[in-house]
């Protein structure tokens, strides 16, 4: 658990970050909270000769709540939990963040690091897909936006180029009921299965639904079919079953110490059902 030698940089602005990235290409990595990257370096599974610490870069943290909510990449999970305006506008973030790791980690761990690393175990990528978030990237060619639903390619592989930095995420203020449901073995664990659900209710009918699953494939899974299975229904048992069936068609879990595939699929269904029921009850 001793990392290989690396150069440590702590630039004050994004120009400085991009200059180092341009100079060293994929030999350089940016670090937000460090909770994924540092263990990988200590295990020597990630070799990062040039490590760029983003904590002194201006303007990367903070939460702006309006019709569109914007959250800086360096905003910590702890800040997400304790922001009253965010809680009022998008309470699912607090519900999810409280299920990530433990308080010590949440003081350091950031939203940007969580979504940009591409670890299928992270909770925020699925949540961002549920919320139809947009990721804001900056690179040598300037700024560009990518939909969270298009960002993830495979485990640790994303649409972000080596020279790009994720600076913020934004998403429309969510409507209706919400739930982030997660089964895990213990505090600090990745999900055995987790579901992010937002549901809009009009009268007794579901008029909009967004469903995403965590740690059940090598990327987060936004299940459009599962979402659509609820729309136009009264979210009765048949509709929930249809949503679960659709979701199960989209996920592709692998066996690990959390259990075999059959178990994970079963639990994914149970967790999604509970998430839908809770979200519907809040809608």
């Amino acid at each position: 658990m001793i990392p290989a030698a690396f150069e440590y940089y702590r630039p004050k602005d994004m120009e400085g970050v991009l200059a180092i990235l341009e100079e060293h290409g994929d030999d350089a990595r940016v670090m937000a909270g460090g909770h994924s990257l540092i263990p990988m370096m200590k295990l020597r599974m990630a070799e990062v000769p040039h490590l760029i610490d983003l904590q002194d870069v201006e303007g990367l943290s903070g939460i702006t709540v309006a019709d569109t909510i914007r959250i800086g990449a360096m905003t910590t999970q702890n800040a997400l939990i304790n922001d009253a305006a965010l809680e009022a506008a998008a309470p699912i973030l607090k519900e999810a963040a409280l299920q990530i790791a433990d308080p010590q980690v949440r003081y350091m761990g950031t939203l940007g690091g969580n979504v940009a690393n591409g670890d299928p175990g992270n909770d925020m990528p699925g949540l961002m897909q549920c919320l139809d978030a947009t990721f804001h990237l900056v690179g040598p060619e300037g700024e560009r936006d990518v939909s969270a639903r298009d960002f993830y390619e495979a485990a640790y592989m994303t649409d972000r180029e080596d020279e790009e930095v994720l600076t913020a995420v934004s998403f429309p203020a969510p409507q209706g009921g919400f739930a982030y449901e997660k089964q895990k073995r213990k505090i600090g664990d990745y999900a055995t299965a987790a579901a992010a659900v937002q549901i809009v209710k009009d009268g007794g009918t579901c008029t909009g639904a967004q469903i995403a699953m965590t740690n059940l494939s090598d990327t987060p899974i936004y299940s459009e079919e599962a979402s659509e299975a609820l729309v136009g229904t009264s979210v009765d048992d048949a509709a929930i079953k249809a949503a679960i069936d659709a979701m199960l068609g989209d996920i592709d879990p692998t066996e690990d110490n959390r259990g075999p595939i059959a178990f994970k699929k079963h639990v994914a269904g149970v967790i999604l059902r509970r998430a839908i029921e809770r979200a519907w009850s809040r809608a």
């Binding site: 658990m1 001793i2 290989a4 259990g259 178990f263």
Partner: protein
């Protein structure tokens, strides 16, 4: 002089036995002022790190150290070839086997030590490890002990397949020993004649103690004066000194072993590890201090597993539930080397306590030890030697028998307990239980939890479940356990030939304070607090005025260390007896000062008083001063004593535990609603520390029962090598424990204490496990192997058709 101070006040001022004295250690530990092994920093110190095998079984064709040696700051890369001339490439194990210090021609488990890099800097050492090139040729891997006993693959090519092992004949080249206790013929006869026989096989999975601090050592060889100082995470520092002397040839008086603060042991720090040997050799070679500290992954994968027992049982009874016999066979997976930490004559520890708390007239135990391609170890993780396995076995067998008899398991236990009048009780597999009152404890436990009410609630829950009103089942876990701790009598207990006595040396200072040194070593048990309380009561000086010191072999008297709940039963007894020697001398001094005959004074809390004239007295403080400043005819100056205590028997703490659990059938998630633990550890020295010990032991029991394991795949890869997958519960996963007690003092222990640190673990594991089993009992479950993690519980439900 008017004395307003009552006798009770004086007792209170002592802070002696029975009071909830706050732990004196905690001021340091909670302020970051502990001095752990990795805090030892010496000028010019070098750092060692291991190259470890990625394979579970492979021939080593070559090792190339050139690239590693080329790094600036690398001092040496040691391999077996370098250690062979010193005959240190292998070392003896505590179990009479031998173990490679560095891989000698082949590796036998993943994570095995292959080469030892010594560098000026910890980071350089790690870089060099990456550059050591080892050419391996993979060999067939055996991780199943049953397969090992029939396989043609020879794991231990160094052993003559026909030669006896340390514990007698071997049946097969991968067989280590067969250990038998009791009368198998008679037991089989009882089974044949029995009205009811229940049989079951259970796997007690491999797990690991995982103390917060990993293992490590700092060796410093002073070539000028020829003295070796060795700091390390040692649960038995004196034994380490003796072993180090025997291995290195350095005379024992020239070796000083220091165990500083230890961040938890739980058996992990009893054994001797290659890292200790390599740090010593490296220091001898370089003449500089050398530090080795393993990281968490190395700790989990290479040092001291626990359990890994396949246990097959048969239990017989009359139709009305009187147990008549017990047959137990264990296939014990010891890994690549037999490095079990047990008293020499007990290759399966005290597994022969497996008749438990029950009056079983006839029994047999057979244990076959087996080599596999897994890490060596076999330590007693928070229990006396293999007692957790024994108690798990009998407490599961009782549950299985209850199913067979269609009888309530609480009633079955009550019907078969050894009764109070039967103590001392001669058990069929050799032990003499010193004392107990099981019926009283069991009744108290069942009454406190309202056992009948719980069963009624459970019956309703089952109905509701069947009616589709709930998806949660309720389990009631029961356990009644008897521990066997305090090893042990020198006549039958030894470690590498050293009798398992323990010791205490006390010096009273002129001003009435004292220092006491013991042969044990605290790893969190609170010795500095509790041993001072024993002494306070024995010698009448306040516990706050008594320093307890352990762990430095240059100052502490020889002792066998701390594990197997032996500190209070053995060293605690030595402490009380040394205190009584102090008191005996103090009596003579007091009599002289009071100008009466020795027999005319008597001890009273903190003083000696003239019999019949309590206003005439000398306090122990006054007596201590007199011991150093008065010439007393016939009495040597000074006030000190030493006692070495050879216990006449083990002590037998017991307890009654009840766990109430709700299980989500659809996700496999268990929720512990209630856990009640009644412990009888005899005389209670510090109730607060006892309660803390019970909380800790139960938490480690919860861990083991519900998820904590060292799992291997078929290639011998460790699947649970980090704390991501190795379950270490936090406060979040732990329920609110209810503790309770009865007091049945040990009749042979000077203060009647029995030891408590491990009881909750021993009793807790079967209690949690029985709760899981009990939840599914109504649906036909008889046995499912631990650990009961989410997916295994889910699978149980699935196999029973509860998801259909």
């Amino acid at each position: 002089m008017k004395d307003d101070v009552t006798r009770e006040d004086r007792i209170g001022a002592l802070g002696g036995m029975g009071c909830e004295r706050k732990r004196v250690e905690d001021a340091r530990f909670t302020q970051g002022q502990g001095n752990y092994l990795d805090d030892v920093k010496l000028p010019g110190m070098l750092f060692g790190d291991f190259v470890r095998s990625p394979y579970a079984h492979a021939r080593i064709k070559s090792i190339n150290t050139d690239a590693a040696m080329a790094i600036d700051g690398v001092i040496a890369v040691l391999t077996a070839e370098d250690l062979a001339p010193l005959n240190l490439h292998w070392m003896p194990t505590l179990a009479g086997d031998k173990q490679m210090v560095l891989a000698d021609g082949k590796v036998l488990f993943q994570g095995q030590e292959v080469a030892f890099v010594v560098a000026e800097d910890r980071y350089i050492a790690a870089d060099a490890v990456e550059l050591v090139e080892v050419d391996y040729e993979e060999m067939p891997v055996i991780t199943d002990p049953y397969e090992a006993l029939t396989s043609d693959v020879v794991l231990r090519e160094d052993l003559d397949p026909k030669a006896d092992g340390a514990h007698g004949p071997r049946d097969h080249h991968n067989h280590i020993f067969k250990w038998e206790v009791g009368d198998e013929t008679a037991t089989n006869q009882v089974m044949d004649d029995a009205e009811v026989v229940a049989e079951e096989t259970m796997y007690y999975h491999r797990t690991h103690p995982c103390p917060l601090e990993t293992c490590g050592s700092v060796a410093s060889m002073d070539k000028v004066n020829g003295k070796l100082t060795l700091w390390g995470t040692f649960q038995a520092p004196h034994v380490v000194r003796t072993v180090a002397s025997l291995l290195s040839g350095i005379e024992e008086h020239n070796i000083r072993v220091i165990a500083p603060d230890i961040g938890g042991g739980f058996g992990n720090k009893v054994g001797v590890y290659p890292g200790y040997v390599c740090s010593i050799v490296a220091s001898i070679v370089t003449g500089k201090p050398v530090k080795w500290v393993e990281d968490r992954m190395e700790n989990l994968m290479s040092t001291a597993f626990a359990r890994d027992y396949w246990m097959k049982g048969k239990i017989s009874a009359t139709k009305d539930g009187k147990i008549t016999g017990l047959h137990c066979h264990v296939t014990a997976d010891h890994g690549a080397f037999d490095a079990c930490a047990d008293p020499s004559k007990y290759p399966a520890g005290f597994m022969n306590i497996c008749t438990g708390s029950y009056d079983i007239p006839t029994a047999y135990l057979g244990v076959d030890g087996v080599y596999t391609n897994k890490a060596p170890g076999g330590v007693s993780y928070r229990c006396s030697f293999r007692v957790t396995e024994a108690v798990y076995f009998i407490e599961r067998m009782i549950e299985v028998l209850a199913i067979e008899l269609d009888m309530d398991p609480a009633e079955l236990r009550m019907k078969n307990f050894i009764s109070k009048e039967q103590f001392p009780y001669q058990a069929p597999l050799g032990w003499e239980y010193d004392s107990g009152d099981y019926h009283t404890a069991w009744e108290k436990a069942l009454e406190t939890v309202d056992y009948k009410g719980l069963r009624a609630e459970q019956a309703q829950r089952i109905e509701d479940f069947k009616a589709g009103k709930t998806r949660k089942l309720m389990g009631i876990g029961l356990t009644f356990f008897t521990e066997i701790v305090g090893a042990g009598p020198v006549k039958n207990c030894d470690i590498l030939g050293m009798g398992m006595f323990d010791s205490c040396e006390i010096r009273i200072h002129p001003t009435g304070s004292a220092i006491a040194r013991l042969g044990t070593i605290s790893q969190g048990q609170g010795h500095a607090t509790t041993f001072a309380q024993i002494l306070a009561t024995e010698i009448g000086l306040p516990s706050d005025s008594i320093t307890i010191e352990e762990g430095d072999t240059d100052t502490a008297p020889y002792g066998l260390g701390t594990y197997g709940s032996r500190s209070t039963p053995v060293a605690g007894a030595a402490t009380a007896l040394a205190g009584r020697k102090i008191r005996a001398k103090a009596q003579m001094i007091a009599a002289y000062l009071l100008e009466v005959h020795d027999d005319d004074v008597e001890f009273d809390v903190d003083r000696f008083v003239v019999k019949g004239a309590p206003e005439k007295f000398k306090t122990m403080k006054e007596i201590a001063y007199a011991a150093y400043n008065q010439a007393i005819p016939g009495v040597e100056p000074g006030l000190e004593a030493v006692s070495y205590y050879d216990p006449p028997n083990m002590t037998y703490p017991f307890g009654a535990y009840v766990c109430v659990m709700d299980i989500d059938v659809d996700t496999g998630v268990p929720e512990i609603r209630r856990f009640y633990a009644l412990d009888d550890c005899g005389t209670r020295i510090n109730p607060m520390i006892i309660e803390g010990q019970v909380h800790g032991g139960l938490t480690e029991a919860l861990a083991v029962a519900l998820g904590q394991e060292i799992a291997y795949d078929k290639l011998g890869n460790v699947k649970t090598g980090t704390l991501m997958d190795f379950f270490l519960p936090t406060a979040w996963e732990v329920p609110n424990y209810e503790t309770d007690y009865t007091v049945t003092p040990s009749p042979h222990h000077p203060i009647g204490a029995k030891g408590v640190g491990e009881s909750p673990h021993v009793g807790g594991v079967p209690c949690f496990s029985n709760a899981v089993h009990d939840a599914f009992k109504a649906f036909g479950l008889r046995q499912s192997h631990m650990p009961h993690d989410h997916w295994r519980i889910w699978k149980t439900a699935n196999d029973l058709g509860l998801h259909d």
